[in-house]
């Protein structure tokens, strides 16, 4: 808030608004638009009906503790099993992609293109229908949990393979040369020196992938699950139809945020930390 110090004699005469005046005007317009949008929504929405449909305290109360001990627990289990399977498979695909053997590189490339290009929903249907058809009589180990791990893993492996490959390539070339000159074989240098450093680099994007998987675990309902195997989305939907009220959907949604928001916070923390640690 400095005073008007400009001496008209010394300052070259400007046409129209000064830079500061233009900035103030622009900010003023932006605030006005924001306020207008908020007011329009607040006035036109029917808050009473929304509250009736989505925020019935009595219905929300009877969801506990099952929504946590059963639904959220299953969501977390599905996500983690899919993540672990995807990480292992993604690692293999990433190393194939970096292999000096041509067919491995092509195969990895094809895998990544296909599974990144397909909606996760189709993969779930494929695992639920095609796998039992193709291998009749075989059970996927772990029942529903195994199927979810397989479906989520197949999808996430494609993304994680690309992330891991980028991480490995981001480790400076001198690291591999130093390891090789000490007598490490190529494979041992990768395992002992390169991959540990690559994982530090890709920890934030991998955690992001975990958040995405957490949401994709809702697709398990296309595999057909028992009551005990329901996760947040299915549980919320089932309860919403029995109570003819959408409150369970809102509660399920809040449960997702309960996990994803802290995770995103952790990712941001890690990103600033790795940003500082880079040499």
């Amino acid at each position: 808030m400095s005073g008007d110090t400009a001496d008209p004699q010394l300052q070259p005469r400007r046409q129209g608004l000064s830079r500061r005046q233009r900035r103030r005007l622009s900010q003023g317009v932006q605030y006005a638009v924001f306020a207008a949008v908020v007011i329009v929504f607040a006035v036109t929405a029917d808050w009473g009906r929304l509250k009736n449909q989505f925020a019935q305290w009595s219905i929300a109360k009877q969801m506990f503790p099952d929504v946590i001990t059963l639904a959220l627990k299953n969501t977390v289990l599905y996500t983690l099993s899919g993540f672990v399977f995807g990480l292992v498979l993604g690692m293999v695909v990433a190393l194939m992609r970096l292999s000096s053997v041509g067919p491995y590189r092509w195969l990895a490339g094809i895998y990544i293109e296909i599974f990144r290009g397909l909606p996760a929903l189709l993969i779930f249907i494929f695992v639920g229908v095609a796998v039992p058809l193709a291998f009749p009589g075989t059970e996927i180990i772990g029942g529903t949990y195994g199927k979810v791990a397989l479906a989520l893993g197949l999808v996430s492996a494609a993304y994680m393979a690309e992330t891991i490959r980028a991480g490995i390539q981001a480790v400076p070339k001198g690291q591999l040369e130093a390891a090789r000159s000490l007598g490490f074989s190529q494979a041992r240098a990768m395992v002992s020196i390169i991959v540990p450093q690559a994982f530090r680099i890709i920890l934030p994007p991998l955690t992001n992938e975990l958040v995405l998987l957490f949401k994709d675990s809702s697709l398990v309902l296309f595999l057909g699950v028992t009551l005990e195997e329901r996760e947040l989305s299915k549980y919320g939907r089932d309860l919403a139809s029995t109570t003819a009220n959408s409150t369970p959907i809102l509660v399920a949604g809040l449960c997702y945020l309960l996990v994803t928001i802290p995770l995103s916070f952790v990712v941001r923390r890690m990103e600033t930390k790795t940003g500082e640690a880079v040499r």
Binding site: Q175, A179, S181, L182, G183, R188, S192, P196, A277, R279
Partner: protein, 262 residues
């Protein structure tokens, strides 16, 4: 000390190296005897680093043969990892492993490559850190060390493998001027202990005082090879004289067509 004692430790025969159409080395013959300290000097782009990297096969020669300790490392069937255990290498950019502490930088290669047990590796690591004067940094991480300290740790890491030959690729070029001395002191100590050393460097004082032989390279060939007195004090070739005058008195250099290579 111009005649290397005994069989050469490093022997390079008719070495050629090309990157695509770019011929970096065009026929190098060089012998380095046991315990000899040879400094390789020359303008950037002269191929001196490439030559050094060919000696432990970080670069694969296009043509020619390289022997280290009597083993031909250019033989396609050689166990290169076994040969490299006998050759220590120090890089311009140190290349310490940033995710490991100083001690772990020294112990991990011993344990994974030489299969030494934990106590043995720790003992060798401590001993070599002491030699480079960094015992008190044993638990530090590379990022918290100065460039000079990092380079000394890198030397200790190479020494912990018990090499017979040490290769130095411009070990002081990435250091602030006041940190160069500590690294050179460690290298001088190694030279006095009788280590066979091949050093690519721009440090003329070090070359003059420590080296048994100085090799001047330009344009992918060895132009001059002799004692420091011969090559640095009384160079016979114009190219050597030109290079040395630019290096020793850069402010007096004149603008010429050659300029300095990229």
């Amino acid at each position: 000390m111009t005649t290397p004692p005994g069989k050469p430790e490093i022997e390079v025969r008719g070495l050629h190296k090309a990157f695509g159409a770019n011929e970096v080395l065009r026929g190098i013959d060089l012998e380095i005897g046991q315990g000899e300290v040879v400094c390789v000097i020359g303008p950037s782009g002269s191929g001196k680093s490439t030559l050094l990297r060919c000696v432990n096969l970080l670069e694969v020669p296009t043509k020619g043969r390289v022997f280290v300790g009597g083993t031909e490392i250019t033989d396609p069937d050689v166990d290169i990892d076994a040969v490299r255990r006998r050759i220590g290498m120090v890089f311009q950019q140190f290349n310490l492993f940033p995710h490991l502490s100083v001690t772990e930088n020294l112990t991990l290669p011993q344990r994974r490559v030489l299969r030494r047990d934990k106590t043995e590796a720790a003992k060798v690591a401590a001993e070599n850190l002491r030699r480079v004067g960094l015992s008190e940094k044993a638990t530090a991480y590379p990022a918290s060390l100065s460039g000079g300290q990092q380079q000394r740790v890198a030397i200790a890491r190479a020494l912990a493998m018990g090499p017979e030959v040490m290769l130095f690729d411009e070990p002081t070029s990435a250091l602030d001027p006041e940190l160069v001395g500590d690294v050179l002191a460690v290298m001088r100590m190694l030279a006095n202990e009788g280590m066979t050393m091949m050093v690519v460097t721009h440090e003329m004082t070090f070359a003059r005082e420590v080296a048994d032989r100085v090799v001047f390279m330009d344009g992918g060939v060895i132009v001059e090879d002799g004692t420091p007195a011969q090559v640095i004090t009384n160079p016979r070739h114009d190219r050597t004289r030109h290079f040395l005058s630019r290096l020793l008195d850069p402010a007096m250099a004149e603008v010429d067509d050659e300029g300095s290579a990229p």
